[in-house]
Amino acid sequence: MAESPTFSPYTPNTPADREEMLRAIGVSSIQDLFGDIPQTFRTPSLSIPPPLSEMELQRELEALAAENHRAVQGPCFLGAGAYRQFIPAVVQAIASRGEFLTSYTPYQPEVSQGTLKAIYEFQTMTCQLFDMEVANAGMYDGATSLAEGALMACRVTRRYKVAYLDTLSPSYLQVLTTYTAAQDVQPYPVSADSAATLEPDTACLVVQHPNFFGYLEDLADLEQAARRAGALLVVSTDPIAAGMIRPPGSYGADIVTAEGQPLGIPMSFGGPYVGLFTCKSEYLRQLPGRIAGRTVDSQGQPAYVLTLQTREQHIRRERATSNICTAEALIGLMATVYLATLGKEGLREVAELCYHKAHYAASIIQDIPGYSLPLNGTFFREFVVQCPRPPAEINATLLKQGILGGLDVSDMIPNGVLLCVTEMNTRDDIDALAAALRELGR
């Protein structure tokens, strides 16, 4: 078995090719090309393990994947920002096409009409979902989308305080704080009651709807409160809920963002996802990120192009609306294919399946002695259950039985667990969860 130790199936150059190219360049060895690197720092040692064949690589990754089996088998009642939803086969089939997968950001519109038109469709769909006027091509994820929304509200209002409703996801709040701290903006919490009187010079009121605990907020009231204070209403919402719940745009929200993951994107341990970002058209010039627009080519036929680029970092540099460059175009495409496949009736059905199953689960769990629903109001597909013992103990036992329990929120609600039910949970799953909880409550 004679084989060059540096042979790589991903690189075509043979030793003969290299010789010929070196001659054309006029140097005698490849290392001569690295002469600008100070000698003492050249060719450091690497402690990366030796190469694997494709077969060995598959085996290694399959073994690593197998170590995660308890996380992926069995029913899942975990949500809190990432959701196990049904993904039609069409989504992966389209996203696997090399023409989409291996293309760059469509800066050359003549050879990127596929990506550009898909972005235009994505912008259309996100606007339609949330009843908003304009959308961008997508942000990194739901959390950064919301953070950029708050920063955008600061630019629009030229104010530098951000209020957030205290039912916001803790991890979204952490990301918001990272982003706003950089601009010397300190977010402050308000409750549904205290939101009525926001501090002076508040740029925006940030609301998650449905909130972190799964419940709908009173957006009509909150919109009034923001308006009275001269602040913008920034809503982080859920695209599946938009299948049946009245969308934030219809309440007059100024900026609406969301995590796009539930729209046909694998959970993939937290990413890649896509942040949806929409706003009123009057704020268009302050939008962060890329935007595709429809125009015509020199023959007058309709064509698509990245537009309004003077907002962006590659043109405006330190005065750009954001530093975002590479975002999540492929994931945006997947969400677009998902929405096209599910369509008007399909998305409503998914939303209704989630709603009815979640409410069924809540109704049987709250009938179990020792368990109750501590929060009031209308929830969508997540709800908090107060347990008779610490959720950590309950979840550990559930995991042994092959069930992924809900998120332990006992730091916020005593013995609270945030349960999520989607269309993927069968009645048998839900009944099994309830039976296990009953056993654990004894």
Binding site: Y10, N13, D17, L33, L46, I48, L57, Q58, L61, A65, E67, N68, A71, V72, C76, A80, A82, G98, E99, S103, E110, G114, Y120, Q128, L129, V134, Y140, A143, S171, T178, A182, Q183, I245, R246, M267, F269, G270, P272, R290, G293, T295, D297, Q299, Q301, A303, T310, E312, Q313, R316, A320, N323, T326, A327, V337, A340, K344, L353, H356, Y360, L404
Partner: protein
């Protein structure tokens, strides 16, 4: 000449909403298997959901035909400078799609996701090794987010030392736009440093501007001119002596794998673009991943979470003085799996060979093209070569026209008009993944275009002629924004 087979068909002018026919469905869902529950009051429900109604074959054909309007690495040579459009191995997509990877909930108990955490821990170690740094965070979801995190770490470092006045970030005039944009987002004032006649940073200018307000410098290595800064060690020294820190933009790391470690050269913190150097697919503009690697003294400020091995198991933790979270969960895991697979497939020596072939290919292009096009800096380059079309501009044809004409020859355009300091820049990065035959065909096309400029400039200045659409009216796009389908239009 036809470069994209489907271009003989006129593109589908209709949008999804215009294809919609009431009653069509793209997928069937299971019936409700629990008793129907009472709905909320109707004021909370939406009355209209304006999404398209399409059957599955229509959806598939619509998007498949769209895909055929794209150039991509799988179909074409994509010599886009600074973007490292190399081959994306298919096995990487396959392993990232294993259910044990793709279906893990990010908040699943750590004991149930040890395989994923182990992979992340190893990748952290590999990237720390490659960069010569002490620790790595994988939480950042793109290069620009890595930059933002890096400058926030620098800011936190100075604040903790009681030096809040350190708010000046130095950035060379050749830098990517994300550098100044990230510095501004991080609360810094940007000062631009000029380049000298050899394409290096002007060291005298640097020494003149460093003072007690200096927070740090952001340097791309090799620079966006495709050159390795001759004075790199001294630049780091000057900045450090003034109390500043050195940030490395790793966008061009494809030149340096196993050739030099930024940590050893004197850099304090850097990011790496997995979607460039480590072969994860660009996806038409993401997903990316921009891990941040830091020296011992900055490691406590890394964005979190990072994965630690406590001897019993792998766990997610926040570094002691972390600048915080930058993503809802732990970064773009699916991208991390692909990069991990790439590193494992190549090994250390294979990675070194990647940079050698990338630099060899770029220099080969330079050697063959430098007679027909101008070179701003006549010296060996690293992984990319920056040509100038200033000679052609005098003949009435611009760099943009040459780039567009390349599309007719079946090549993606190079990066144009960047770096900003090169007149009519054409920045060409071949990567290691292209064969000599492809490079020769590209050279032939470039030489042929140079001839056309002399003999038939109109064919170049009106290019492309064979693509699905011709040049676009970008002014109209910006002046009359049409950014979505709307009913009745």
């Amino acid at each position: 000449m036809k470069s994209v087979d489907s271009m003989t068909d006129a593109p589908d002018q209709k949008l999804l909403m215009e294809h919609s026919v009431p009653g069509r469905r793209g997928v069937r869902l299971p019936p409700l298997d629990v008793p129907e529950q009472p709905l909320p009051e109707s004021s909370l429900l939406r009355d209209n959901l304006p999404l398209p109604e399409l059957s599955q074959p229509e959806v598939v054909r619509y998007f498949t035909r769209l895909s055929q309007l794209n150039y991509s690495v799988d179909t074409h040579f994509y010599p886009l400078g600074s973007c490292t459009m190399k081959y994306n191995p298919k096995v990487n997509d396959q392993v990232a799609s294993l259910p044990g990877m793709a279906s893990i909930h990010p908040l699943a108990p750590e004991e149930s996701s040890q395989g994923a955490l182990k992979l992340m821990h190893r990748l952290q170690d590999y990237l720390s090794d490659i960069s010569g740094m002490a620790a790595t965070s994988l939480a950042t979801m793109a290069g620009a987010q890595g930059e933002l995190s890096g400058v926030l770490m620098i800011r936190a470092y100075h604040l903790e030392r009681g030096q809040p006045q350190r708010r000046t970030m130095l950035i060379p005039d050749s830098a990517h736009g994300t550098n100044p944009a990230s510095a501004a987002m991080g609360g810094f004032q940007v000062t631009s440093i000029p380049s000298d006649s050899h394409g290096n940073m002007d060291l005298t200018a640097l020494k003149e501007v460093v003072n007690d307000d200096l927070a740090g410098i952001m340097l791309t290595v090799p620079s966006t001119l495709g050159l390795f800064e001759n004075d790199i060690v001294e630049i780091c020294d000057v900045v450090h002596r003034a109390g500043g820190l050195v940030y490395g933009d790793g966008a061009n790391m494809n030149a340096l794998l196993g050739q030099a470690k930024l940590g050893e050269l004197g850099f304090d913190v850097m990011h790496i673009n997995l979607h460039k150097t480590f072969s994860t697919p660009h996806g038409g503009g993401g997903p990316g991943s921009g891990p941040v690697c830091a020296g011992e003294w900055l490691a406590p400020y890394l964005p979190g979470p990072i994965v630690e091995d406590n001897g019993q198991e792998y766990q997610l933790t926040m570094p002691a003085k972390s600048i915080g979270k930058v993503s809802a969960f732990h970064g773009n895991f699916g991208v991390l799996v692909r990069a991990y697979a790439y590193i494992r497939a190549l090994g250390g020596e294979g990675l070194r060979q990647v940079s050698e072939d990338a630099v060899l290919n770029a220099n080969y292009l330079m050697a063959k093209l430098k007679d027909a096009y101008d070179l701003s800096y006549d010296r060996l380059c690293m992984h990319e070569v920056v040509l100038s079309a200033s000679r052609q501009k005098k003949q009435g044809v611009r760099g943009l026209d040459i780039a567009k004409r390349l599309l007719d020859y079946g090549f993606h355009a190079p990066t144009m008009y960047f770096p900003l300091i090169v007149d009519e820049a054409l920045m060409i990065e071949p990567t290691e993944a292209e064969s000599k035959e492809t490079l020769d065909a590209f050279i032939e096309a470039m030489l042929s275009i140079a001839n056309e400029v002399a003999e038939d400039p109109d064919i170049v200045s009106h290019a492309p002629h064979t693509t699905p659409v011709s040049r676009l009216d970008e002014v109209r796009a910006a002046r009359q924004p049409d950014l979505r389908w709307q009913p009745g239009r």
